[in-house]
Amino acid sequence: MNIRHDPDDASPDGGEPLRHVRKPLPHDSARRHVQGAADYIDDVREPQGTLQVAIGMSPKARGTIRGLDLAAVRAHPGVVRVLTAADIPGANDVSPAMGDDPMFATDRVSFHGQALFAVLAETRDAARRAAAKAVVEIAEERPSVTVEDALAREEAVLPDYGFGRGEVEPALVGAPHRLEGSLRIGGQEHFYLEGQAALATPGEEGDVHVLSSTQHPTEVQHVIARVLGLPDAFVTCEVRRMGGGFGGKESQATQWAAIAALGAHLTKRPCKVRLDRDDDFALTGKRHDFRCDWRVGFDGEGAIAGFAVTHNARCGYSADLSQGVVDRTMFHTDNSYYFPAVRIDTRRLLTNTVSNTAFRGFGGPQGMLMIEHVMDRIAWATGRDPLDVRYANLYRPGRDVTPYGQTVEETDTLRAIVETLERTSGYRTRRAAIAAFNGRSKTLKKGISLTPVKFGISFTLMHLNQAGALVHVYQDGSVHLNHGGTEMGQGLYQKIAQVVAEEFGIAIERVRITATSTGKVPNTAPTAASSGTDLNGMAARIAAGKIKARMAARAAARFGVAAEEVTFRDDRVFAGNESLPFGELAKDCVLHRVHLSEAGFYKTPTISWDRAAAKGRPFLYFAFGAACSEVLVDTLTGEYKVTRVDILHDVGRSINPAIDIGQIEGGFVQGMGWLTTEELVYDAETGRLRTHAPSTYKIPVASDVPEDFRVALFPNANREETIYRSKAVGEPPIMLANSVFCALADAVHALDPGKPVPLDAPATPEAVLRACQALRGRPLPERAIG
């Protein structure tokens, strides 16, 4: 890669190499993080008189509320006020769109732990002890807990929806081979290490300012206004950083911020909510779990002729974001594979469990895992190498139209990534070595799998594909940067600062990154769908560019040259043979009444989606990747290790390769957790979540990371005109971990190559042991599904 000949690597004014963009700079708060000096909401010094909030939760999952006696709660020492639905001046509605998420349940309870009331007290201890004193009487009904419960009751949060192409039934019937099956895919708790938190401070005439650990400050603002019955303009939401989000603070942060705001509104005192970890597990939604019922017809090479699937999604008690989430499952049911005839149906089922929500990948991972499982099933049926079955179905020119009508334009990138990784990982050699090992080893079995990733980038809800930024240049030449995106560890703030420093040709230290606030940039989209850099980077560059143009005009006038001849670099501004420091020109602009502030706005071009007609181009582009994972399984215990992982991933031209590699590694590890050790267990009778803390819910730790872990960026440039030709990186790496699941199945398959492996996700050691015993013809007793 010769950067001198690559126009994407030239400075904004041309001719110079990039100074900040493409550099592996550390996170914006790196120095503060290592010193414990980066403040999260719970670290901010509380204003005098701040009240602490505890949530009163339903002890039943489904039923009618007969009585709620809060006298003992109110009488508890230190309690200042108790909030119920009757205290809400506006709407009892904290939902993102559908109006079906009450702040406090009133007549009915819909899941175990649902918020009934909130206690405001002088101390957190008093609030929590008081909340436990409520006397709640509920006429209990049997809750729907599983997909099967919901199907039996025919209860859904949203209408069924499906799309497809061609005549799928004849294609299935006419195919030389047919298979059908059902794959269960578990949910996932976000477990952001900083739990949900909000601090609301009352202002004049009903104004409220709220610090919220949220990916979606605009929605927090709007919902608080709705709940309080105030115009949006009375509410300001601000967030400097989150201790992790992963989708769990897209819609799920709102309720706690709104409760804090309601408390502040009614008591005229600041109110703080910080959910206890166990309560956080019970009160906030998770990744959707699925039962995918599929049928496939294929030829002797494993090439698919027809495919049909019904995704039964457990959505929990309300719609929340399930429309978009399950739609994205549909958009990713193909992953990287062409279906000549296809039908994809979905059911968005209502269960009496917490409302499932956004989680990194937003439904995509479930669709993709399902089709990777089908690839393995075809391979086991045909006896072909699973990678060759994948090649037989991989999108290629002429076979490049997705089930929803968008053409995959970068089939060359997809194939090059898979072929390169096949070679660099030594897949074929290792496959042979593993077969030899498995031939010798009776108990320990190895498995390997190489799976591709194709992930669509853009919000499928079209209006969210917009962003704003606010840039000021002060008269000393320092720059204030603000935009609608939020920082949750993904490095967005630093990437945008790199873009702005590059535009002005100044040191990055001169760009002051400031907290996201609805008071500075309004009407923003959530920081979600991997779109943060694509959208906000463009908006910030547009803002900086407009200021720069006015500064250039001033320099041109001062030095008598054409504005086009003015360039910004090395902290100076050059005009003909003259130059001056950037700060001096800023001062000069102020003296000559040149406006040095600008709001930038960007909207994604060329995308469209007609949901009713199921046609359009919902994604601006696709991000690609592939992973090859090898595992070692003890088939007598089900225990296993992921021994080696090779990843090749496409981030276009990276704005910050260190941050991008971190996203890839971290996303893979998080996806591996989803598919291996992270198991959510709901009590089948009561609907109570039994896995409610790290004591019972196991996320990956340092020793779970593959000992041999090789990650590389695929050299590519985005063909769309994205910011510095980069590609989004937040979500796609999650699905690299599908290779771990498939490798585990591959290892178990070695026990009896004549049989398919009955393995659902997550492939916990218990699940792996069950699969091993099934292949041995000695199945373990059924476990109640929760």
Binding site: M1, P24, P26, H27, H33, V34, Q35, G36, D39, D42, D43, G78, D125, A126, Y192, L193, E194, G195, M242, G243, G245, D276, L387, D388, R415, A416, V418, E419, E422, T424, M488, G489, G491, Y640, K641, V642, R644, P657, A658, G662, E665, G666, V669, T677, P694, S695, K698, P700, V701, A702, S703, D704, V705, P706, E707, R710, A712, L713, F714, P715
Partner: protein, 222 residues
């Protein structure tokens, strides 16, 4: 990966020395706080004489009384490691330690690690290795790393992975966290271990695979 539970590598927990019991107070309503108990905590070299609720955790005392908010609340169960501090040089999950049990002892928090404006070598290594994303677990990871080195538990690569497994990082920054520990301890990675160690590898990695992709394009596959 299944053998290790989240608690397996949890920081060693110091025995908790309970204050003298007052049987009359034990029967009191839980809503009425027991009488405050005097303690002397030496935190980051500075002595503090405090009267604390005997039920107050060391974490709450540090965060709310001394305004040292570097140690974080992740789970309040002693299972995530975000609250790790050193007590007399050993790792303690401060959400499970009582402040009264630390009477007369030396507590070191992340705020006390840098000396004379210079970062501790492990802090610097975390910076150099990009060993965090959201940063919330970082103070606990660093204190755990400093503690395990002081305790002589940094023997080899496997021991680092094991000893750090009590500190959860939901962002999954473990490869770089381990790289920072290796850099500071001088421990070599296991023979097959993660290639590359820090941000610098990012650029190098791109070039390497670029060459590879260019040279081999179109050769593989079925």
């Amino acid at each position: 990966m299944s053998e290790t539970t989240t608690g397996a590598g949890a920081p060693a927990r110091e025995p908790v020395r309970a204050p003298a019991r007052d049987s009359a107070r034990d029967d009191a309503s839980p809503g009425v706080p027991p009488a405050a108990h005097p303690v002397r905590l030496t935190v980051n070299g500075e002595a503090h004489d405090l009267a604390v609720d005997p039920r107050a955790t060391l974490l709450d005392t540090l965060r709310e009384r001394l305004r040292l908010t570097g140690a974080k609340k992740g789970c309040e169960h002693g299972s995530c490691g975000a609250c790790t501090v050193l007590v007399d040089g050993r790792r303690v999950v401060s959400c499970l330690a009582l402040a009264v049990a630390c009477d007369g002892r030396e507590v070191t928090t992340i705020e006390g690690l840098a000396a004379g404006g210079r970062l501790h070598p492990l802090q610097q290594a975390f910076l150099d290795a990009d060993a965090f994303q959201c940063g919330y677990c970082t103070p606990g990871q660093i204190m755990s790393g400093v503690g395990l080195m002081a305790e002589g538990r940094a023997r080899d690569d496997a021991s680092l992975r094991d000893e750090l497994s009590g500190n959860l990082c939901r962002c999954g920054a473990y490869p770089n966290i381990l790289a920072a520990l290796r850099r500071t301890t001088g421990i070599e990675p296991a023979p097959d271990a993660t290639r590359g160690d820090d941000r610098l590898r990012a650029a190098a990695g791109v070039d390497e695979i670029a060459r590879d992709a260019r040279d081999g394009a179109g050769q593989g596959g079925a």
